[in-house]
């Protein structure tokens, strides 16, 4: 389970898990309380005027016609101006800290596509989907790009967000301060499964991270095909295909194996070859009633992973 956003942290903010978070929260609290003071001030005065100068008889005139006071105008122009300039400098300073990564930051490549996150660890040739595993207390620089539309990488606990664009690299960096699991969202609207384009940030202690690296990332060697398939399903397929008959962008996997399916190329029995073809060449036969929206997983999934997905689908009767 990821760390809860609502129940942990302050009244407003989720718990802090990066070096930026405390500073951001102090700035937020400062503006919040400043606003509360001004707001209450404004409306106490308004309420006072409304009560004190309320019209009691129909012919009651204004007590006096006071129509301008330049000193007052200057006051309520210059004081707010000074305050917002303070906020501007403060906000920009902390933003600079967020945009300039330390030179020793560790690079991880992030690739976004409809609708999942892919993380590549260049030095170790490890690729993961959905889960971003990082060591604690280490600056990490994410180099991001998108394979299709714009997505946005958002981790509330870190207080970072950055759009991931097609045909251009964007970067964001952070240093996690807390071991744990945190929610990753896609924050830029990207279509049907936008709200299911989730991921997990897994922050490990430095020792555990070394171990994780030595094992070559998420270990799959000893896994049964079905378990491997379930894992691949969760990171790659679940945004669009349900396993309980509930409607999503694509057809459900429940009861799919062996079913006679109407497709753009006629009726097909969903056997191993059809399932494999649908994974590597999804446009070949499109199930009637569903959009032609799937991308190919050729080159993304290894053969054993495709085998696993097919075995997993077989278990969903």
């Amino acid at each position: 389970m990821n760390e809860g956003l609502m129940k942990n942290g302050s009244f407003w903010m989720p718990s802090q898990a990066s070096t930026f978070a405390p500073g951001i929260d102090v700035l937020y609290d400062f503006i919040f309380w400043l606003s509360v003071v001004l707001f209450v001030g404004i409306f106490v005065v308004t309420a006072y005027f409304i009560i004190k100068y309320r019209r009691k008889t129909d012919d009651q005139l204004a007590v006096a016609q006071i129509i301008h006071n330049d000193a007052l105008e200057l006051t309520w122009t210059l004081i707010p101006l000074g305050l917002v300039m303070l906020l501007f400098v403060w906000g920009f300073n902390s933003y600079l800290g967020m945009t300039v990564p330390p030179s020793d930051a560790m690079d991880i490549k992030v690739t976004s596509k409809k609708w999942n996150w892919q993380f590549d660890y260049p030095e170790k040739k490890i690729t993961t989907f959905g889960d971003l595993t990082v060591p604690v207390d280490t600056p990490i620089r994410l180099v991001m790009s998108s394979q299709d539309v714009i997505h946005s990488f958002f981790v509330p606990n870190l207080r970072i967000k950055q759009d991931s664009m097609p045909n251009r690299y964007t970067t964001v960096w952070f240093q996690a301060t807390k071991v744990g699991r945190f929610q990753i969202f896609c924050a830029e609207y990207c279509g049907d499964a936008h709200s299911d384009m989730l991921g997990n940030l897994i922050v490990l202690s430095k020792k555990d991270y070394e171990k994780w690296l030595d094992n070559g990332g998420p270990s799959t060697a000893g896994m049964s095909l079905t378990d491997l398939g379930q894992r691949v399903y969760q990171t790659q397929c679940s945004a669009c295909h349900s396993i309980d008959n509930s409607p999503k962008t694509g057809p459900t996997f429940k009861g799919l194996y062996g079913k006679l399916t109407q497709t753009s190329a006629g009726a097909v029995k969903a056997d191993e070859n059809y399932l494999r073809e649908s994974i590597v060449d999804p446009m070949a036969k499109i199930v009637t009633g569903y959009p032609a929206g799937m991308i190919t997983f050729a080159g993304i999934l290894k053969d054993r992973e495709i085998d696993g997905v097919i075995e997993y689908i077989k278990t969903l009767k």
Binding site: L5, F49, Y53, H68, N69, W76, K161, F185, Y189
Partner: protein
Amino acid sequence: MTTAKPNYLNSPKGILSWIFTLDHKRIGLMYLVAIAISFALGGFFALLVRLELLNPGKLFLTSQQYNQSFTLHGAIMIFLFLIPSIPASLANFVLPLQLGAKDVAFPRLNLWSFYLYVIGAAICLYSMFAGAADTGWTFYTPYSTTTTTSVISLVLGAFVLGFSSIFTGLNFMVTIHTLRPPGMSWFRMPLFLWSIYATALIQVLATPVLGITLLLLIVERVAKIGIFDPTLGGDPVLFQHFFWFYSHPAVYIMILPAMGVISEIIPTFCRKNIFGYKYIAFSSVAIALLGFLVWGHHMYISGQSQFAALIFSLITFLVSIPSGIKVFNWIATMYKGSIQLKSPFLYCLAFLFLFCIGGFTGVVLGTISLDVHLQDTYFVVAHFHYVMVGGTLMAFIAGLHYWWPKMFGKMYNERAAVIAWGLIFVGFNVLFFFQYILGTKGMPRRYYNYLPEFQALNIVSTVGSWILAAGLFLMLGYLIHSLLKGKPAPQNPWGGLTLEWKADSPPITENFEEIHIVTGGPYEYPAATKSAH
């Protein structure tokens, strides 16, 4: 049986006399009806969206239907309601009256602008049934150039609506320049006219950019010429720059007229001359000008240069100052007044309250490093609804109640109006306040599915939408009742001093029987005690 005195509503008669009317009052009324229908439609989609969000996952809409619903809600509310709301309906009616004029400068252009609105609305309506777009009202590329839904028709609708807006702005600008009555210098104009003038500046200067952008989008989709889509060699960030170059100033097209309405109503119900006339007038112009230079604050995390972000943040903070000046001056106007808490004034108070919350949270979002966390979350959703609904809609309703007796010659039930005001005010806050917390906690916007821990506040928000809807339905009810059975309105029910209150209720077709000569400011109310200014 008494024969009604001839007025613009009953003479000339016949449906053709309405279809081909050049009377600004009739055109304003037709706009009012059209805008009310659009608002109802946009509100219907809002209720659908809120209902679906009662639980994570599916309640009754598929994800695509949900995405289409919020797209239509946004597009309809922005292009068909908020932008034309006050200028095209209320100002169309009031502006020539406040000038003591017979009509706007170009009555035919005014009618054409109305029909462009109808054509644009019809295209948007067609789009709803032709595979409604699912891009969000922002049409971000490359999503909008690659989705299979009917983006082109909705974009075309917005394109046509843009011209309607340009023509209205142009018309009002020329009218204010040329048709002021003898004695009405610029600084003797009602402040509503200043705000409409500032609005017109933006309509005329910014809207063409939207037109060009939307046209380029259509060209890219149809002819596959790479402008915004990177797979064709285009640049998606360019689209965002173009889009917000219009759509940020458009926010001021929505809020400036609202501020103008507030500046009219507060003096009348306080029997006070407005405090700081010139400061309010010039802050309208300042907002209009600075508003052109802040579009990049929608794009802090889009990958634009950090130097650009710096400049945009700075100017964003500056543009908050004139709004603050207005608020302070409005409140100072109440000082030593004779304050009557009638429904138009109550809506002004609601405006002040909600607009201030929207403004303060706008300052939070203008702060770059906070915006990184809050961008694209429910915090932003709550913020712009506080400004657009809490600001523009409240002022629109305030103005509607203020000028209703003038428009229709009928009074409405004040008691019902106060109850509706209470429902709308409470419902609005229940609906949107908790979205601020959802946002700071990290719930992204445009989410069909959400984490179970966000459900409680989403339920509260949805219940709020029902309270708000109940208040609006009650309002519709007593306004219709007023048309059918309302008491006849006197010429000047609130004791206003601007020229529209010197016309009959409802006015005659020519507005006035004589030319009014203006000899002083618009709000020169007497005082009980003689004191120096």
